[in-house]
Amino acid sequence: MSMTIVDRRLNPKGKSLRNKQRFVHRAREALHESIRRDNGSDKKSDGNKDTIFVPQGKKMVRPKSSKKTAEPRFFHASGTGSVERIYPGNKEFGVGDYIPKPNGGRAGTRGKKASDSGDGEDDFQFILTREDFLDIFFEDLALPDLVKTGLKQIVKHKVERAGLSSSGTAVNLNLLRTMRNSYARRIALHRPRSEEVEELLARVFLIERKTDQTAKERRELSELLERIEHLRGRQRLIPYIDPTDLRYNNFERKPVPNIQAVMFCLMDVSGSMAQYEKELAKSFFMILHLFLERYYKKIDVVFVCHTHEGWEVEEEEFFYGRKTGGTIASTGLKEVHKIIKERFPADSWNIYVAQASDGDNSSGDSDTCIKLLNESILPLCQYYAYVEILDVREMEAFENEENGAELWCAYRGLRADWPNFAMKRIASHSHISPVFRELFQKEEAYG
């Protein structure tokens, strides 16, 4: 019996990729909803480092069933009519025994396959790549006012290839082109080939070695020598490589805008901020970070904490450190301003500041804050987002935007003067994503 073994392992993989993309495309709408919902409501507060709301690799998504991705068929509804079935593994039943139905015999809700969603199909998870996920999550969001301030640029130069030139340094010599030119020239000018000369020489040696040369041979010898002399003369006249053959790789320095951004995460870590509030703040910062990452190749993140004093911390400490103390918000702002001045000159950096706080501040300090913001920080910033984290109960109480804690009331005035200033309130995980979206909504960026 004939048999062939074929090794297919080197055949292309991912044959299903296009189909999967088509499916993801179809499911996009449903995905939108579930991604935003999931990220709004998922509890991420188990204090673990992996609680970043978007996993670094891939994301499991459970799309809502939608008409676009359903594959309906005709099939029998379970629990209808009268059906007999056979099962294995009888242990104790006899003919005529009754077994109560799990739900008292109502049609259709029984059976392993009946899904909880009620729509049956599509109740499954699948993996989205991080890129797919973020694309969907950040779709129709944009950085506010990118055009107005422009991306602050310092011009850097990038060396790019720019064809060939006939002059240059030896290291940039393009051997291939040079040799090609040389070859063409040699053919065109009929430069004698070295082999040709060597052949003649060989003949000369052969004759010269003979002791008894005939007259004919002597004549030939002198002809040969003459010919060789002629050829060598031509070879000298027509060089193997001529300066006109030389070609160099040419490089040009092109100015490239250097887009860089720095994000300040400023958080109140004083005693009034409980663990839960901090978690909310962190989730918000995470989203912001991811979002900025998509726009800037290089983004620096600076973490600043404040209690009654402000100081810069490492990421680790920012998210997990514990500190107690009073609350003087302006200390944080001062620290931010100091760092900007020292390390991030505003003409070469896009500066974003996100501040999260529960709104407490020691009395009298709020005026200092306003002054700092007005005079030093807001003029330098691309965008300043203030997020106030409230208790759910407080949230209800402060339904009206006009009321609020110390900082809220103080900051309210800034909104009119500074289009790059925004403030929002959140009380639970489910608020984060909508608030974030509001802050970065494409059209309404500045109203």
Partner: protein, 522 residues
């Protein structure tokens, strides 16, 4: 004769050991069992490729459609999260018979897979009556190549969306897109292409005389002119009804579809028809392959061609495959076709070789009990039966007792199930009959026919058995798909009637889940 050496000693495989083992397996399969197979083409693939193959319903090439991507997405998660393993192998009913072996398999698994797929399934594909009559192993790959090319051409010409519209709708009707009784013509690439050309030419002619002067501006919108109505009426009167093959009906009769759309409907119908025998022979096909691999591996061991370690590994895998959890076990998810098929075939061997001394087997199987020729009996069964008839014929009282099978009656509106049969004298026949029925496609899949047609109204009738109704939500969506293909502005109704032709009342029923998705032959 020198001392026999094992075919391989380590679990690593290479092409050399594969070939040597294949030859040894082939020897047993042909000389001892007398199997008759297509030539084999064994393809080594990686896990990713296995996942790919899964989602295009196991075929090496398939046209593009998002639903395959959906299955891929789901399988990928199940696999990556460890909920589901991958099949060790996939085998395709084609000539040569292609089977995929995964590169991660150990040598023992490769041997098992070769015995199972390249001989067990292969023999079944080549000899079973259903496959012989309904599928064309020589033509399938060419046909799929044609289908893939045709559909991708359509996508270029008419856009992916337009093609998906047709494919989505046709897929929804796939289960009702097969001929259950008459034997369809075999696929031949040449004929398909000629027929397709003719159809397009004919359509062009038709378009010029009928469509062109009835529809100003052309296209797919009809003016309700009397001429057109008459023309269609005459055409409709010639349609033979009822028609159970909905896709065939649409392909031939739809007043709306353009030639390329008809062709796509035809492709889906052909694919559905190709898989139709597989749906009806799950138990037998797997049983045959499992029985064959068990026999072959044991024969190799007896010849001292397998080491003890390899044999133990084999037994482990073999018994995993055959696991049949009891109904009250958490892992229970229906009767395992491998387990049932294998058990029945082993039981047939027992009946032939050592029938029950008390005479039970002689009473139930007078033709074969004690005949000794179990190979002949099995080969006859593999050739001539499908699951339903096989169970009806060969499920023995002994096996019913061994498996402790029992019957449950589930009646709507009654708050409890009733045990209707157990493994005793009174129950054997009943269990056999009920179990056989559960494998009858005509019984499991809704029987829906076109019963009345007119250009603007179509009546579909669902013949309900035992008052089992259709799940409503997907039903409405599926009817919508029918409408899309028939004629978007038409009126399509679906009525369920019972055996007495009384209409069944609809009630709010939650759907049953995706039901039985087409499964790969493992």
């Amino acid at each position: 004769m020198g001392e026999t050496r094992p075919l391989y000693k380590t679990s690593e495989w290479n092409f050399d050991t594969m070939r040597r083992t294949y030859d040894a397996i082939a020897e047993v399969a042909e000389r001892d069992l007398g199997l008759d197979t297509y030539p084999n083409q064994i393809e080594i693939i990686s896990t990713e490729q296995m996942l790919d193959a899964y989602s295009s319903i196991g075929m090496p090439l398939m046209y593009q459609h998002w639903s395959f991507g959906k299955h891929f997405a789901r399988d990928e998660v199940l696999y990556r999260k460890g909920f589901a393993g991958l099949a060790y192998e996939i085998v395709i009913n084609s000539n040569p018979c292609i089977s995929y072996n995964m590169e991660d398999n150990t040598m023992t698994m490769q041997a098992l897979v070769m015995a199972h797929a390249a001989f067990g399934h292969n023999h079944f594909f080549k000899n079973n009556r259903l496959f012989r009559e309904w599928t064309d192993a020589d033509g399938i790959l060419d046909y799929l190549q044609f289908a893939k090319g045709f559909i991708s051409n359509c996508e270029e010409r008419h856009g992916v969306k337009a093609v998906e519209l047709v494919l989505d709708a046709a897929h929804a009707l796939m289960d009702q897109g097969v001929f259950r009784y008459p034997r369809p013509g075999k696929l031949s690439l040449k004929e398909e292409e000629t027929r397709q050309r003719e159809r397009i030419e004919e359509a062009a002619r038709e378009y010029s005389d009928l469509y062109a002067h009835t529809i100003p501006g052309g296209g797919q919108r009809f003016t309700h002119t009397p001429e057109y109505r008459d023309e269609m009426k005459v055409r409709m009167e010639h349609v033979k009804l009822p028609e159970e093959n909905l896709l065939y009906y649409i392909e031939k009769q739809s007043p709306w579809l353009q030639p390329w759309q008809r062709e796509i409907v035809r492709i889906v119908r052909k694919v559905a028809q190709y898989f139709y025998p597989q749906k009806q022979t799950k138990v037998m096909n797997e049983g045959c392959a499992t029985f064959v691999h068990y026999h072959i591996m044991n024969a190799l061991y007896d010849k001292k061609l397998l080491t003890d370690g390899a044999m133990l590994e084999f037994m482990g895998i073999h018994s995993n495959v055959l696991m049949q959890p009891d109904f009250d076990d958490r892992q229970f998810s229906g009767i395992n076709p491998y387990a049932l098929g294998y058990a029945m075939m082993t039981d047939i061997k027992r009946i032939c070789v050592e029938p029950d001394p008390e005479g039970e087997d002689h009473e139930w199987f007078p033709d074969i009990a004690g005949c000794g020729d179990w190979k002949g009996v099995l080969k006859d069964a593999w050739e001539n039966y499908r699951d339903e008839s096989f169970i009806l014929q060969y499920l023995s009282p002994r096996l019913i007792r061994d498996m402790h099978l029992f019957g449950i009656k589930d009646e709507e509106g009654v708050p409890h199930y009733e045990v209707s049969a157990i493994h005793d004298e009174q129950g054997y026949r009943k269990i056999r009959q009920v179990l056989a029925q559960r494998y009858d496609i005509g019984y499991i899949e809704p029987n829906i026919q076109v019963t009345k047609n007119d250009v603007w109204t179509i009546e579909l009738t669902h013949h309900a058995m035992n008052k089992v109704r259709l799940a409503e939500k997907p039903m409405d969506a599926t009817v919508e798909h029918f409408q899309t293909l028939w004629k978007p502005d038409s009126h399509v109704t679906l009525t369920s009637i019972d055996e007495n032709c009384d209409e069944l009342a609809m009630s709010e029923i939650k759907p049953f889940g995706e039901g039985d998705v087409q499964e790969n032959v493992r």
